[in-house]
């Protein structure tokens, strides 16, 4: 029994004169100042100098996010939004000491909800812990949500064990990203600006004739909302708020009305008429992106996306796409060819419904940035390679276990979402997912909700196997899966490929359909690390809609010793 939640609901009901479960409206992030697009150049976060150990400070600072917007108060790594980019070599380990220099006792965004697990009023509000998304690391360096620490390590969470994180970089070339992962306030800390890019390079990549140097550009997409004074606006659910101490209140998703790339609102990039490699990341809290590239003047000419990689490295060969669907935390490595487009401008557009795929939230973020083909050609480029890197898919017959894991929304009787669950369990319930180190498991992610959820499993890379519709009513009533058709193959940019975040699409729930997504992973530790039976490496798996993650759509899981006798 979650008494806090119960008390909160009672208070909410009292606030509504005894006749309301939840007050009526959310305040949406949809009233930001209207800002002229494409007046600021795209910033490129600086690359940290080559080293094997780093001290990275989280600081509060003000930064101009648009020519016409007053400076915005932010939190960022090294006082930057985005944080600086790491560029490391596969197989060459580094250490990072993450230091919390954030000021004050209260979060500067007035949206901490003390009814959320791990965010109670006795937990310090200005806390942080850093997760390197997609990294193959041991648990003590993974940024466990309860391994948080405050300014100067003054207070630490129950799972805190080390100040210095070890990143072995025992994985193939790809783009990871680092961001805050503090239990109960991840959505607010990332929203405040705590995110940055981490590139891993390897010899396979060195040999590929891909655009390099200034022709390789990270594009990190975010949506935010602003007040007229330039400050960030994160909405709270209720108007008026329930009486203290339960205000302010969690919203099920944040959808902002203002698009940013690399921390600038609607920027532009001047390019040469040649190929560019863009390292794309959807770093929005909750917004899916459906991207197209069109000519700015006639909106007709479309540029193709030549996708060469995804979350965990290269595809085996380039895939040419007219549009890209990117869920939060997914990374797409794409080449765009501006050859022959001298003098033209192109817009990167988005038309994904929010929430995805049902839509209905007010406001869209229809554009992200402009590309101007205005620079003279300084060097020619090479054709895209036909082969990139082999992807040796995991075989389902090698899975020692198939786990069925349900994604479920929990509502009040009036149909208002309260929380989402994974595996029908709360964060605080005992661990149920406990793969043995070095073994392969298949996880069947059963979506009973109307939303797509980007599910991220820490530590591992995985292959998407397929998806399949099932009868939701039979499942709800009996727990049995009755399939409504054959398995659907993944998209060409999902398989063959290595992923760490997968869209678990919904079925058409009002027609009584759910949808299941099958993934398969090998639970390898970095450098094949071993540890004695009886010990474990504890990670998490979760939805990467940060509002869902913060409110129970996250579960711990443990990799147990490969030598362990299991059930």
């Amino acid at each position: 029994m979650n008494l806090r939640r119960r008390d909160f609901l009672r208070l909410g009901a009292m606030a509504g004169a005894g006749c309301l479960l939840f007050p009526k409206n959310y305040v949406f992030g949809q009233n930001s100042p209207k800002l002229k697009p494409f007046v600021d150049p795209l910033p490129i976060p600086p690359v940290l100098p080559g080293a094997t150990s780093f001290d990275i400070h989280m600081r509060q600072f003000f930064q101009k996010l648009h020519r016409d917007l007053p400076p915005t108060k932010l939190w960022g790594y090294e006082g930057m939004f985005l944080g600086p980019t790491f560029e490391v070599r596969s197989g060459s380990p580094i250490t990072v000491q993450w230091l919390n220099d954030l000021p004050g006792q209260k979060h500067f965004l007035p949206a901490v909800d003390t009814t959320i697990h791990g965010s109670e009023s006795n937990v310090p509000e200005v806390r942080s812990v850093v997760h390197l998304h997609g990294a193959k690391v041991l648990a003590d360096s993974d940024g466990y949500p309860e391994a948080w620490f405050t300014n100067g390590f003054g207070k630490t969470g129950p799972f805190f064990s080390t100040r210095v994180y070890h990143y072995p970089n025992d994985q193939a070339a790809t783009m990871l990203w680092y961001h805050d992962h503090s239990l109960g306030i991840t959505r607010l800390n990332v929203f405040a600006g705590l995110a940055g890019v981490y590139l891993i390079r390897d010899e396979d990549e060195d040999e590929l004739p891909l655009p390099k140097g200034k022709f390789e550009v990270p594009l990190v997409f975010m949506d935010r909302a602003f007040n007229p004074d330039g400050s960030l606006h994160y909405p709270v659910q209720t108007v008026p708020p329930p009486p203290p101490p339960v205000s302010p209140i969690w919203v099920p998703e944040f959808f902002g009305d203002t698009a940013l790339v690399n921390g600038k609102i609607l920027p532009f990039l001047e390019v040469e008429p040649r190929k560019y490699r863009f390292r794309m990341l959807n770093a929005c809290n909750a917004r899916f992106l459906h991207l197209t590239f069109t000519n700015a003047t006639d909106n007709k000419d479309q540029l193709h996306f030549h996708q060469i990689g995804t979350d965990q490295g290269f595809l085996h060969k380039p895939v040419t796409l007219m549009d890209l669907l990117m869920s939060p935390a997914e990374r797409f490595d794409v080449v765009i060819d501006f050859t022959g487009q001298k003098g033209k401008s192109f817009i990167l557009n988005n038309d994904a419904p929010a929430p995805f795929p049902g839509g209905g939230a007010p406001g869209m973020v229809p554009q992200f940035m402009e590309f101007r083909v205005t620079l003279p050609l300084t060097s020619t480029d090479q054709p895209l390679p036909e082969r990139l890197a082999p992807v040796h898919l995991l075989e389902t017959e090698d899975a020692v276990r198939v786990r069925r894991l349900t994604l479920r929304e929990n509502d009040d009787p009036n149909g208002n979402p309260i929380i989402d669950f994974l595996g029908d369990r709360r964060w605080n319930e005992p661990i149920t997912e406990n793969p043995r180190a070095g073994t392969i498991e298949q996880w069947d992610l059963i979506n009973t909700t109307t939303d797509g959820h980007p599910i991220h499993v820490h530590l591992v890379r995985f292959n998407v196997i397929n998806r399949q519709l099932f009868d939701l009513n039979v499942f709800n009533q009996t727990g049995k899966l009755k399939f409504l058709g054959p398995p659907e193959p993944p998209a060409p940019n999902e398989r063959p490929a290595w992923k760490d975040t997968v869209v678990v699409f919904p079925g058409d729930t009002t027609s009584g359909q759910g949808k299941l997504t099958r993934i398969i992973a090998k639970f390898d530790l970095p450098n094949e690390a071993e540890f004695p039976p009886g010990n474990r490496q504890q990670y998490v798996w979760h939805c990467h809609i940060l509002e869902h993650e913060d409110n129970e759509m996250m579960r711990p899981y443990a990799v147990v010793s490969g030598k362990e006798d299991k059930d």
């Binding site: 009526k24 209905g360 479920r408 929990n410 094949e528």
Partner: protein, 206 residues
């Protein structure tokens, strides 16, 4: 890449309890078809025909009359703290494809009504009912019937516990119903809760 074996011992054991997964081994999924290149990225689920349900037939007594089906609806929608509601009985009252639409249900940031399949409504609200208690009953009814069809405005109130002096929510359930010659079916249900700005009028309380 050189690989070294390292052995590390972790203190995290202190913080968690290992519980074996209750799910047994399932047969592996069929191998996917070989994907082909050059079409668009992943797409959302295509809408298709309503699923063929393996509905357990309703208890005949629950669906023999308008009174009976409404009584069964309120009984199976109610649950005291710690109690699991009868999802099979609740679902059996509805015509396949029926939708439940709360007018004030906000969904995820939309002002349009949400729509639930009957079993999804119970499955999604079971946690609330089990933790908070949800004892709902009818307090007034207006019925229009012509031949096989009926529409019912059914005013309800709900308490967390039967000892609560006042309900925490009231509203109107608007049912569309159908009689097939043998039994009644709920075709659809939309409901509006009372709010501070929208008080239940006297006519819906008698």
């Amino acid at each position: 890449m050189p690989r070294c074996k390292i052995v590390r011992i972790f203190a995290m054991t202190l913080f968690a309890v290992l519980v074996p997964c209750t799910h047994g081994q399932q047969p592996a999924a069929p191998a996917p078809q070989k994907p082909h290149d050059s079409h668009a990225g992943h797409t959302a689920a295509a809408p298709s025909a309503p699923a063929a349900h393996e509905m357990k037939p309703a208890d005949a007594a629950d669906v023999a009359s308008l009174d009976a089906i409404l009584a069964a609806f309120y009984a199976s929608n109610s649950g005291a703290v710690g109690q699991k509601r009868d999802i099979v009985r609740f679902s059996s009252l509805f015509y396949p494809g029926a939708q439940l639409m709360p007018a004030e249900g906000k969904g995820h940031g939309t002002n349009m009504p949400r729509a639930f399949a009957p079993s999804t409504y119970i499955a999604n609200t079971d946690l609330f009912a089990a933790e908070e208690g949800y004892l709902v009953k009818e307090i007034a009814r207006r019925t229009e019937r012509f031949g096989k069809i009926a529409q019912v405005f059914s005013t309800y109130e709900a308490r967390h516990a039967s000892s609560d002096p006042r309900p925490f929510v009231r509203g109107v359930n608007s049912f569309q119903l159908f009689f097939d010659g043998h039994r009644w079916w709920i075709l659809s249900l939309a409901w509006q809760t009372e709010t501070p700005e929208l008080k239940l009028p006297e006519e819906y309380l008698r």
